[in-house]
């Protein structure tokens, strides 16, 4: 029992500890996930920022071939000389020059649009900006990025025009002693293609937004790009973010449990227009201990060492079953077998040494119980020999008591025959204080416990044996010979002994009272049935000592 109980406790403890650990693990996982996500988003935002800056620098270098192209400088200067109107030949020549240079730029570093701007800010020629087709007065000179280039600076900007553009510009010099002849401006449209390229190179899920709308988005393969649309609903609240407002980068914001995002303003005019980009990551939290199952991918499951878990479970179950068999099933089976033998009478009593643990105690208790019951006379019996019958109809013939005392019974002092009990003094009828117990076939007779206060058992003092079924005529000696009072002394002694055996108190129980009661009953029976005399016997009823009266007419 100890092993299996210990095992149950151990399993219970393990289960509790496992549940606690799982909750702990999920909490730690979520906390670590939040921290990692925040750090990851910040890293993503920083990487995107670096990428945009580096990309702008690289592309500004790609403007050098334009600036060094002789025709570009020459025809920009020619345009400057005509403040009234851009010379048409300058437009044509510049367009050709732009095309020539543009064809030599690697595609990965190329521009969507290129503009050649003269000192007046007028766009003399351009590539890739069809929106301006036919607009002779199209100009860009007011934008700070172009103005800076016209004043000798190379820089970048982010413009929000009809679309969002990343722009770089640098001066074009014709005469080094004079102002730059103009500026060359390269622009890239911030569209899905741009975002895709950025996402591929940085590994970030990124969305650009302007004017409260998503302008472009792209994400790695394991990220649902459509989730980035959720930022549109969040942009209205974004201005309330203090960090975003002051530093240009928001804190980590979770949108609808779908994604966590961090917003960053784009440098340039876009900054003041509230345009920027958002990097996003999907939340990595688990809803509870079972959430790990849904979050684990194949790689995680491979790391899970399922065979070890199965083996551990099988070993634990096997140990539990083994302990259960050893401590429950097997002892119970032994006990069952022994009990069956006991019931069949093939054994006299259960042998405690055959059992283990609590079954040993049960066997001892059963044996003790049987002994006690036998000492009480085998317990209550049903049948005609009941004291109730004393008050019932008088039979025509003398009725034999269920526990009459045959006078010819011989006690076997050696114990090989019927067991003699009590040390009651022999009566005039040959020792009525002894009873004979039935013995199971093939088994040795058991000695009944002696009543307290009884003397030692001797063959002479135990002449009678107890017989449950008295032969007819066994009472022939009753009512003849000695007077009632002589018998009643024996009956009294037997009655007292039986009461003691049944555990009843005999305090205050005197012979005088006993005799008085017998007399009263005798007289009543004699009067009622016309009996000559009444013979009393002792028996046990419902675990208590009781008297039975037999009226005798002759």
């Amino acid at each position: 029992m100890v092993l299996s109980r210990f095992w149950y406790v151990l399993l219970g403890l393990l289960l509790g500890v496992t549940l606690y650990l799982l909750h702990l693990a999920s909490s730690m996982y979520n906390r670590a996930g939040l921290r990692a996500r925040a750090e990851g988003l910040s890293a993503d935002a920083q990487v995107v920022s670096w990428y945009l800056r580096d990309d702008a620098r690289q592309r500004s270098a790609e403007l050098i071939p334009f600036a060094l192209e002789p025709d570009v400088a020459k025809y920009l200067q020619k345009s400057n000389e005509s403040e009234a109107k851009v010379p048409e030949d300058a437009r044509g020549k510049l367009t050709q020059a732009l095309n020539r240079v543009s064809a030599q730029i690697p595609k990965s570093l190329g521009f969507d649009s290129v503009f050649a701007v003269d000192q007046n800010g007028r766009v003399v020629a351009y590539l890739g900006y069809e929106q301006a087709s036919g607009m002779e007065d199209f100009e860009l000179g007011g934008y700070p990025v172009v103005a800076d280039a016209l004043h000798g600076y190379v820089r970048d900007d982010t413009l929000v025009l009809d679309r969002m553009y990343r722009v770089v510009a640098r001066p074009v010099e014709f005469d080094l002693s004079a102002m730059p002849a103009g500026a060359i401006v390269g622009a890239r449209v911030i569209d899905d293609r741009f975002a895709r390229e950025l996402s591929q190179r940085t590994g970030a899920a990124v969305a650009f937004y302007a004017n409260g709308q998503r302008a472009a988005a792209a994400s790695p393969a394991d990220f649902n790009t459509a989730n980035l649309d959720a930022i549109v609903g969040d942009l209205t609240d974004l201005e309330q973010d203090k960090d975003y407002h002051e530093k240009g980068r928001s804190g980590v914001r979770e949108i609808g449990g779908l994604i966590a995002v961090q917003y960053t303003r784009l440098p340039g005019e876009a900054w003041r227009l509230g345009a920027g980009y958002a990097v996003a990551r999907q939340p990595a939290a688990v809803s509870g201990p079972l959430g790990f199952f849904s979050k684990a991918d194949d790689k995680d499951k491979k790391q899970g060492n399922l065979p070890l878990a199965v083996i551990a479970a099988l070993v634990a179950a096997g140990l539990g079953i083994l302990f259960s068999v050893l401590e429950h099933t097997r002892p119970l089976r032994v006990f069952k077998t022994e009990a069956a033998k006991f019931a069949a009478g093939s054994i006299e009593l259960l042998t405690p040494s055959h059992f283990r643990g609590v079954f040993r105690k049960i066997a001892a208790d059963v044996n003790d119980g049987v002994d006690k019951q036998l000492a009480k006379g085998g317990g209550p019996r049903r049948g005609p020999a009941d004291f109730k019958e004393v008050l019932g109809d008088l039979p025509d013939q003398p009725v034999m008591s269920a526990f009459s005392l045959p006078g010819d019974a011989v006690a076997d002092a050696a114990g090989s025959g019927p067991l003699s009990v009590g040390n009651l003094p022999s009566s005039a009828h040959g020792g009525s204080g002894a009873r004979q117990l039935p013995t199971p076939p093939g088994s040795a007779p058991r000695r009944l416990p002696r009543p307290p206060g009884a003397g030692p058992v001797t063959p002479a003092s135990a002449p009678a044996h107890l017989d449950a079924t008295m032969p007819e005529g066994g009472l022939s000696g009753w009512g003849t010979g000695a007077p009632d009072e002589a018998e009643w002394q024996d009956v009294f002694k037997e009655f007292v002994a039986t009461k003691q055996q049944c555990g009843e108190t005999i305090e205050g129980f005197t012979y005088e009272k006993f005799v008085e009661r017998l007399r009263k009953n005798r007289d009543a029976l004699v009067n009622k049935y016309g009996a000559k005399r009444v013979k009393f016997g002792v028996h046990v009823k419902d675990g208590k000592a009781a008297l039975k009266a037999n009226p005798i007419r002759e």
Binding site: G142, G152, Y153, W271
Partner: protein, 256 residues
């Protein structure tokens, strides 16, 4: 562009065969600083991720002086109030308006025309008569100068676009200098005038009193000095030191 700009001047200045020409010249305008561009170069404005000078461009050209033909307005101010001229065309395009600074009598109607291939949303700053409204490509929008004073107009969709309209009832004529600083005012009526340069909504340089008779006047010998080189150099030096200090602060603070 020049043709339409000339049309503006023609519209602003009443044509008259008897109009006298005041030919003059502004000097030192390269010592002025375009407020929009100057603001944009401040790193704290986050206008760029990198901005570096090209070494081959001489330092004097790196100063962000205004584009005089659009930003410096030369006005001839009469002794008394003048009639409002016909509507004045203001083009919106290229990140600015043309002109950037305009000096007109109150009540003058301005017609804003969008010459960009995308929309603009102009609005007045600090006065209610010019509320934000979209002006799509090629469309126009009108507004009358409500009274004397300086009225700043901006574009909600293009932060770099800023325009100043100066309402002055004594404006008799205006002109815009060339890249070299030359200008010509056409004054219809003889009389006493004051020639004054305006830049970014403010008067710059000294006022030059002139007496106009029937003959043209040549004022080029006494150019209007609108910008002081020493002051500009001092401002530039202070600006450079401030930029240097900011850069050091940024370097200590790390890249955010």
């Amino acid at each position: 562009m020049k043709a339409s700009w000339a049309a503006l001047l023609i519209a602003l200045v009443p044509a008259s065969a008897e109009a006298a020409k005041l030919r003059g010249r502004v000097d030192g305008f390269r010592n002025l600083l375009n407020p929009v561009w100057a603001e944009a170069k401040d790193p704290k404005e986050h206008g760029y991720s990198f901005r570096e000078p090209v070494p081959t461009v001489r330092a004097e050209f790196r100063r962000l002086f205004p584009h005089a033909p659009k930003e410096i307005c030369i006005a001839a101010l009469a002794a008394g109030p003048q009639k409002s001229p016909p509507p004045v065309l203001v083009r919106i395009g290229g990140g600015r308006t043309t002109p950037v600074t305009l000096v007109v009598p109150p009540g003058t109607r301005l017609t804003f025309q969008n010459t960009d291939p995308f929309k603009h949303r102009l609005h007045g700053v600090g006065f209610p008569t010019f509320q934000p409204a979209d002006t799509v490509r090629g469309a126009t929008r009108e507004w009358s100068v409500p009274g004397p004073g300086v009225f700043e107009i901006r574009d909600e969709l293009a932060p770099s676009l800023r325009m100043w309209v100066v309402g002055d009832p004594t404006v008799a004529a205006i002109a815009y200098p060339s890249m070299k600083g030359d200008f010509a005012l056409s004054v219809e009526q003889p009389g006493e005038y004051t020639v004054q340069a305006f830049f970014a909504g403010k008067k710059v340089g000294p006022a030059m009193p002139v007496t106009v008779k029937e003959a043209d006047l040549d004022l080029t010998k006494t150019p209007l000095k609108v910008g002081d080189e020493k002051a500009a150099a001092a401002a530039e030096k202070a600006d450079a030191e401030k930029a240097k200090a900011d850069a050091e602060t940024d370097a200590k603070g790390g890249d955010k």
